[in-house]
């Protein structure tokens, strides 16, 4: 493998180029910087998961670079409101929820206490949730005994500054920019491989491997086949509206995802702006009405609606062309997995880089891993609908739809006795699954006998200590805005 061409010049194309150059410096990497289309969600959604922090470290970029030079801010999680009418909102953070008591995991104790009477909601046992609700932030403590030692955080990206920084960084690592418009591909008649990419100036760019970062249209990968696995049965939103409003002085590190009769909307505050979005089903709400709804919350007109077709290509990598991001998988931004899936695919591409012949068995392994990962992401998103409780027709339908087999298995096991089955290539940690399952009111029917050894009073004692440990410390933490200002001050010194 010598030459790799990346088609697409948004943050994704440049991130892929940077990782390839950094990890496999023997490769020549050329980027054709097509501007990303509006429906490429990995490029459009600024809220990201903690995996972005690992991705930066992996390619040799510090947290400070992203936070300072690209004006990113911190996000600790999401507060889900009205997904289950009659229950309070719940917070999903990337943190531990409680600590094990004895040999059984914490949530079993919580479920027993909840069944016996009252214990505060599950998210009251996540230190990061307490921090996020009060608008505060510190970096994870290095002392493992601190309650604030185990959480992870994502970033809220500035979608103008961030791609710029990534482009500069990839070029610094030796990626070559080749400006031009895309006209088509020339296929090898014998192998069906892409022989060259044809630009609008008539120039042909040959390469051993072509990386497609062109969004849902998948200009390259789509030239080989159009197979698509549709997920709209479980993920009903097929429209998306985005609107950016002015920033607030103290941006919250906690995003809000608010269920609506026709879908859900979100608010994500960051340093440079307050992002509003609305994902909905066109069958339930006209684009005009949806736009009026969002304007009512954001105070400004949203951008034109984006059509969303949720699902994935069964084979993101075929012959010598690999699709990344929305070209491979397209899901609504619920839980902010769009860029995460793209990063994960980049890591996998780097780790599994084959020879020029792109041997079928190596691609099989790559596609198998992608499939396992995206299916569980699909399941996690679909869970929010399957375990919802609202009266509108859309929501009733979602509750009645049989979930994908793997999600049905998870929900069945959990509902029975609070057990979570193990799956390979899981994006969300067990505590994330628990936060959503318990947050949406799915309480196990039985209490696992393994906690018999610990009497309920003893559980409550340990649980009270956890709550107090969190409550005592939170007020002393700096606000999110103070944290960012301190960081800038330190950098200026």
């Amino acid at each position: 493998m010598r030459d790799v061409v990346v088609l697409g010049g948004g943050l994704l194309g440049w991130s892929a180029a940077a990782a390839l150059r950094r990890k496999l410096p023997a490769l020549r990497v050329t980027v054709i910087p097509l501007p990303p289309p509006p429906d490429a969600l990995a490029e459009r959604i600024g809220s990201t998961l903690p995996s972005i922090v690992a991705f930066h470290r992996d390619i040799g970029m510090s947290d400070g670079d992203a936070l300072l030079r690209a004006h990113c801010s911190i996000r600790l999680g999401t507060e889900f409101e009205h997904w289950n009418e009659g229950l309070p909102s719940y917070v999903h953070t990337y943190d531990r929820y409680g600590q094990p008591l004895g040999t059984a995991s914490f949530h079993i104790h919580w479920a027993r206490q909840a069944r016996l009477g009252s214990t505060p909601p599950f998210d009251h046992y996540s230190p990061a949730a307490a921090m996020a609700r009060s608008g505060r932030f510190i970096l994870p403590a290095t002392d493992p005994a601190s309650p604030f030692a185990h959480f992870e955080y994502g970033l809220a990206l500035d979608l103008v500054a961030y791609p710029r920084m990534m482009r500069a960084y990839a070029q610094h690592l030796g990626a070559i920019e080749r400006p031009g418009g895309f006209k088509g591909v020339r296929l090898d008649g014998e192998t069906g491989f892409i022989a060259a990419l044809v630009l609008d100036d008539g120039q042909e760019i040959e390469a051993d491997l072509f990386v497609d970062c062109t969004g849902p249209r998948a200009l390259l990968r789509g030239a080989l086949d159009q197979d698509f696995e549709d997920w709209s049965r479980w993920l009903p939103c097929d429209r998306l509206l985005l609107a950016d409003a002015a920033p607030v002085a103290e941006p919250s590190p906690l995003d809000r995802a608010i269920a609506h009769g026709a879908g859900w909307r979100w608010v994500a505050q960051s340093l440079g702006r307050t992002s509003h979005g609305f994902a909905y089903a066109a069958s339930e709400l006209s684009d005009d009405k949806a736009a009026r709804t969002l304007r009512g919350h954001a105070g400004i007109d949203p951008q034109p609606p984006i059509a969303l077709r949720q699902g994935r290509r069964p084979q993101p990598w075929l012959r010598n062309c690999v699709a990344l991001g929305d070209a491979a998988t397209m899901v609504e931004p619920l839980e902010w997995t769009n860029l995460h899936l793209a990063h994960s695919a980049i890591d996998r591409l780097v780790a599994m880089m084959p020879d020029r012949d792109c041997a079928a068995v190596e691609l099989w392994d790559y596609n198998r891993q992608c499939a396992a990962e995206t299916e569980r992401v699909r399941d996690f998103l679909a869970l929010h609908y399957a375990a919802s409780h609202r009266d509108e027709g859309l929501w009733r339908r979602m509750r009645d739809t049989t979930p994908p087999a793997s999600l049905a298995h998870t929900m069945r096991l959990f509902a029975e006795r609070g057990r979570l089955p193990f799956y390979e290539d899981e994006t969300f940690a067990r505590d994330s699954w628990l936060a959503v399952l318990l947050g949406q009111g799915l309480i196990p029917r039985r209490i696992d006998p393994l906690i018999d050894a610990v009497p309920p009073a003893q559980s409550e004692q340990g649980m009270a200590a956890m709550r107090e440990g969190i409550a005592r410390l939170v007020p002393s933490l700096p606000t999110h805005a103070d944290f960012l200002r301190n960081l800038q001050r330190q950098a200026a010194r």
Partner: protein, 501 residues
């Protein structure tokens, strides 16, 4: 909550492991009643174990030295495979990593890269603590500080399985397990539901229960004989259906590893315990008679035989479901895989762990039962492929037996794994599963499945610094192992057996 009446049918290793775990870990949830017949006896050849057993013993509150003394146990750092790829070959499958472990790119990738560049590098064995300690016959417990190389190995035990069951029996009985001696003549079932309601002994005594655990060994009294659960036969890939077992006095070293020596029609184990060495010839009756197997074994063992060879019969495979109605099969009653990689006791443990986690109420939920069966299938299927690899990855052509296994059609799941390794040394990743990357790497390379390429990320560091780093690493491992005590000396200090055989 009423306690469930659990009846365990059979008192070998599986039966008493189950009884001890249930009484110790689910007190108050179940009343355990074990039925065994001393006339039937136990198979008890599974003398070598995997590191997982330590967690099992720990959960039961067992003191290691006490347990080792009682079962006349030795330490086990891995398995030495002799004559597998070719006659004359030897490699150790270690419990632990090659290199320091935990790196983004597996150590063997750098090693492969240098070799493919034509640079001389030491054998991969020399970068493994467990292999090096094994070859030097040394032992020490691994360090708990995960930063050092002396934390990069694990260990298991080689013990007398006929002593493990009585050891666990004491624990189970102390915790309230009831034991009844007798041979079961009738199994009674509910006419409507088909569930098993009781087992009746020769004496006429009836033992009733809510949940029945079938630990009856190959007989499979409940799963097979009573419920007729079908058996999935894997003998087209795993031909061996007999073992001749015979202990002898120890003549060579008490090695901290199990010996597995390929033979013309199967393989032979050598398991050194404190008081004797266990031996056995696992073979295929299609190719070898019992008499010839016994004669070969007698000629091959190193010390004076202590008993006559005893022949065991089996078939590789598993029951379609291990938990059917209110009967859970644990151990040989649910399936059999030859002890090539010491998985017998591991499979018992996996089933017990799953049963503890999915322990039913009075009404057994199909959710629990299905999940149990899914977990057990996963364990069996992964071990199956790993075992088949040992036979298929060979150049041996000295007998029709080896010709068959070398050229047989293997499961697709294994063919894909082997092809991936051949291309660039990639091991299909599972985060869970009994055998992790290093195990697969050891067997592939040990049996001459040589990759054509390597992970391209291994090209990043300059060759000179890699070579120097490897030299230092091998030297450090050598020094650490060299400073350790002799295995035999460690045993006689740490856990000497209480009386001689």
């Amino acid at each position: 909550m009423l306690a469930r009446r659990v009846v365990i049918v059979g008192g070998g290793t599986a039966g008493w492991m189950t009884a001890a775990a249930l009484t110790r870990l689910l007190p108050g949830r179940c009343a355990v009643h074990l039925v065994e017949s001393e006339a039937i006896g136990i198979v008890g050849v599974g003398e070598a174990t995997l590191p997982h057993i330590r967690a099992f013993n720990e959960r039961l509150g067992i003191d290691e030295a006490d347990f080792m003394a009682a079962t006349r146990a030795t330490f086990k750092l891995g398995i030495e495979f002799v004559d597998w790829g070719r006659i004359g070959d030897s490699y150790i499958h270690p419990f632990g990593t090659f290199g320091p472990g935990g790196a983004e790119v597996d150590f063997h990738q750098f090693w492969l890269r240098l070799k493919q560049q034509g640079i001389a590098v030491p054998d991969l064995d020399l970068f493994s603590m467990a292999c090096t300690m094994g070859r030097m016959n040394r032992f020490a417990l691994p360090s708990r500080d995960s930063r050092g190389l002396d934390s990069t190995f694990g260990y298991a035990y080689q013990f007398d399985a006929t002593l493990y069951a009585p050891y666990l029996r004491r624990i189970a009985e102390e915790m309230g397990a009831k034991r009844t001696e007798g041979r079961i003549v009738t199994v009674h079932r509910d006419r409507e539901t088909g569930d098993v309601t009781s087992v009746q002994l020769e004496s006429g005594e009836k033992i009733e229960g809510d949940l029945f655990v079938d630990c009856s060994g190959f007989v499979s009294l409940l799963l097979d004989k009573t419920l007729g659960e079908p058996f999935e036969d894997w003998s087209k890939w795993l031909l061996n259906d007999r073992a001749a077992a015979m202990p002898c006095r120890t003549a060579g070293a008490v090695t901290p590893y199990t010996g597995v020596i390929a033979m013309p029609y199967g393989w032979r184990w050598r398991i050194p315990l404190q008081h004797r060495t266990g031996n056995g010839y696992v073979y295929s009756s299609q190719f070898l008679s019992d008499e010839d197997a016994a004669a070969t074994l007698i000629a091959a063992v190193e010390g004076e035989p202590i008993a006559e060879p005893r022949v065991l019969r089996f078939k590789a495979g598993r029951r379609t479901r291990s938990w059917v109605r209110n009967c859970v099969g644990i151990g040989l009653a649910s399936g059999f895989l030859e002890p090539l990689e010491s998985t017998s006791i591991y499979l018992i443990q996996a089933a017990i762990t799953a049963l503890l986690e999915l322990f039913p109420e009075k009404e057994i939920s199909p959710v629990d039962r299905d999940e149990f069966n899914r977990l057990i299938d996963l364990e069996y299927d992964r071990i199956r492929d790993f075992l088949i690899l040992h036979y298929h990855a060979t150049e041996r052509a000295d007998t029709p037996y080896w010709d068959y296994v070398r050229t047989m059609q293997i499961p697709d799941t294994l063919a894909e794994k082997m092809e991936l390794f051949r291309r660039r040394g990639r091991v299909v990743k599972y985060r869970e599963g009994v055998f992790l990357d290093a195990s697969w790497v050891a067997v592939y390379l040990g049996q001459r499945v040589i990759p054509q390429g390597h992970d391209l990320r291994a090209d990043a560091p300059p060759a000179e610094s890699l070579v120097a780093g490897m030299r230092n690493l091998a030297a450090e491992i050598q020094a650490l192992a060299g400073a350790m005590e002799d295995h035999g000396a460690y045993l006689s200090r740490y856990c000497p057996m209480k009386d001689a055989a």
